[in-house]
């Protein structure tokens, strides 16, 4: 059964969908954390599909939109790291109240995965972490966002430099990148984000899943992350599947689903 509803955090409405299994085989629940800006659209139906699969295997699943994103209240420029952490806390509390589950794991993609790691450092009750293509270095990610803006300006025949973009960001407090306002606050957060420097200890296990193209590009980065997580006492599994990337426009228009990654993750979760 799927129940879409709004969860109240303070006076803010957070859109969520609760998946309740027909037969409850365990008391485990998984909260999904979506990626940043338009990347959220690229994984939307993958999230729905994966949540339904998990639910059919007896797991409770909670999907939600961060404040300012998707169907949740607020404007995108109101999104902050702090609001995201508060959202997860509220969702987690409501999830427990609504289902009676005893254990919560987090599943995140890209920046959603990085936030899952950060949240696990704050809330020690988080059991397992399932991470697809986590953003390890936020400054690099922020740089990519700026680069996208520069590339877009070429097609619009109004070339802008990085310096000009940053000047606008600092003077206006925000900049339009691909139809989403990146704020100075969030830009600073991204620049400070370095998952390697703040590795949490999880009482459960950690799964890192990548597609082939991502793993070949980022071999060292992820190997180092796995090593750091293991050095902190975590049990960490790393899987790179043969899927092609599902996080770009072409894959989205082709309606491509990374089935190997989905199945590998599902198997890993059910073996916990």
């Amino acid at each position: 059964m799927e129940r879409p509803y709004y969860i109240i955090r303070g006076n803010k409405n957070i859109f969520a969908v609760l998946h309740t299994p027909k037969s409850v085989t365990n008391k485990k629940g998984i909260i999904f954390l979506h990626p940043y800006a338009e990347e959220k659209q690229y994984v939307d139906r993958i999230f729905v599909h994966f949540a339904r699969l998990l639910c059919s295997r007896g797991y409770f699943v909670m999907r939600f939109d961060f404040y300012g994103c998707g169907d949740s209240e607020g404007n995108f420029e109101e999104l902050t790291f702090e609001s995201q952490i508060s959202d997860i806390q509220s969702i987690s509390n409501q999830f427990t109240r609504d289902t009676g589950i005893g254990e919560i794991s987090l599943f995140g993609v890209r920046l959603g995965a990085s936030i899952a790691i950060q949240y696990a450092g704050i809330d020690k009750t988080v059991s397992d972490l399932i991470l697809w293509s986590p953003i390890v270095n936020g400054a690099e990610y922020a740089e990519t966002l700026l680069r996208n803006k520069i590339f877009a300006s070429f097609t619009e025949n109004k070339k802008v430099s990085k310096e000009k973009i940053l000047n606008e960001l600092y003077s206006e407090g925000r900049i339009d990148i691909g139809g989403y306002y990146l704020t100075k606050n969030y830009y600073d957060y991204l620049n400070d984000l370095n998952v390697h420097n703040n590795v949490p200890f999880c009482k459960g296990k950690i799964f890192i899943g990548l597609t082939k193209s991502e793993s070949s590009l980022n071999d060292n980065k992820y190997a180092f992350l796995v090593q750091k997580l293991q050095n902190s006492g975590n049990k960490c599994d790393f899987v790179a599947t043969g899927d092609k990337s599902y996080l770009d426009q072409h894959a989205f228009y082709e309606w491509y689903f990374p089935h190997d990654l989905i199945n590998n993750t599902l198997d890993w979760i059910t073996q916990l």
Binding site: E2, P4, Y5, Y6, N13, F15, V17, E38, Q41, D44, R45, V48, C69, G70, D71, E73, N75, F76, N148, I150, F151, A152, F154, T155, E156, D176, G178, G179, Y180, Y181, S245, D248, Q249, H250, A251, F252, Y253, E254, W255
Partner: protein, 302 residues
């Protein structure tokens, strides 16, 4: 301001479909607008523009339903083909039934971007309860090479004129190394380039007979049926969407020349296909609201 958006479900051809209903903030039930998915995007729309637009409309007195067609967002069903006639207008008509029967909305308009525009044009041609349609970036024939035609048929994806314009566009962009970097960073590959070239050349040597292909025939029949009905339509395009605009002009003149003057055609300066930049989004929203104000006799204004 009280948050009053409501998740809803309705059944359409055996599928349980999902949507978000935004009631008019003043509680009136006079005007309802249904947003059809823009292709494969869920009810949130590209760059969240459906949410932004729906919230503005509900604040000024319109009710809005943002729906998910089968296989998209939270709705049941599956996507079996990825082209811009993939959305069945019957589901949009089911959404009209829902607004009329369950929400007691008196008057209905439809809105869509790209494939959503094609969908609502067809729904409007079938269902005379539709009083107005708002079509952003309505594609006539042209589709992006990454979007395959039904059954992976690369043919019939653009008109001859569109093919020529497309080649000119690509050649201009191909001169820039940054364009190539961007292309590959967004998932482009050599296979897509090959498919694109194959498609363009096919479309250069063949010509208007593609208009008579079943899929297009249906679409153009719907187009002329709606125009002939005399009900108003707003065709809104981004200036940068030049291939689609050119194709639109040709077909629009053919289909609607001097038939009625209830159709309006607006170009948003610097806008692209999905109005990616916030300023072009705002402009497109503002133009649409101004156009809709005739419908509400000025009762719902920005």
């Amino acid at each position: 301001m009280q948050f009053s958006e409501e998740p809803i479900h309705f059944v359409s051809k055996g599928n349980r479909l999902f949507g978000i209903f935004h009631p008019a903030s003043d509680g009136n039930r006079n005007f309802g607008i249904i947003f059809a998915n823009s292709g494969m995007q869920n009810r949130v729309g590209p760059h969240r523009v459906y949410v932004i637009f729906a919230r503005i409309l509900s604040q000024i007195g319109y009710s809005v339903l943002r729906m998910d067609h089968p296989g998209l967002g939270e709705s049941e069903g599956a996507i079996t083909e990825t082209h811009f006639d993939q959305l069945n207008p019957d589901h949009t008509i089911s959404a009209i039934n829902f607004l009329k029967d369950t929400k007691k909305i008196k008057r209905i308009a439809l809105f869509g971007i790209c494939a959503g525009a094609r969908n609502v044009l067809k729904a409007g041609s079938i269902d005379s309860r539709v009083e107005r349609i708002v079509l952003w970036s309505l594609p006539i024939i042209w589709i992006a090479p990454s979007m395959t035609a039904p059954k992976q048929d690369f043919r019939g994806s653009m008109s001859k004129k569109g093919a020529i314009l497309s080649i000119k566009n690509k050649l201009r962009r191909a001169k820039s190394i940054n364009e190539w970097k961007r292309y590959f960073s967004e998932g482009g590959n050599v296979k897509f380039i090959f498919l694109y070239l194959k498609s363009v050349f096919w479309n250069l040597v063949s010509n208007e007979k593609k208009y008579s292909q079943k899929r297009y025939h249906k679409f153009f029949t719907a187009f002329s049926t709606y125009i002939l009905s005399g009900r108003p339509a707003l065709f809104l395009y981004g200036e940068k969407d030049n291939i689609i605009i050119e194709e639109f002009k040709v077909k629009f003149n053919e289909l609607s020349a001097d038939i009625n003057n209830s159709c309006d055609y607006v170009i948003i300066p610097n806008g692209n296909h999905t109005f990616t930049s916030m300023d072009t989004q705002e402009e497109a929203i503002s133009e649409t609201i101004a156009w809709l104000s005739n419908w509400s006799n000025g009762k719902c204004s920005y």
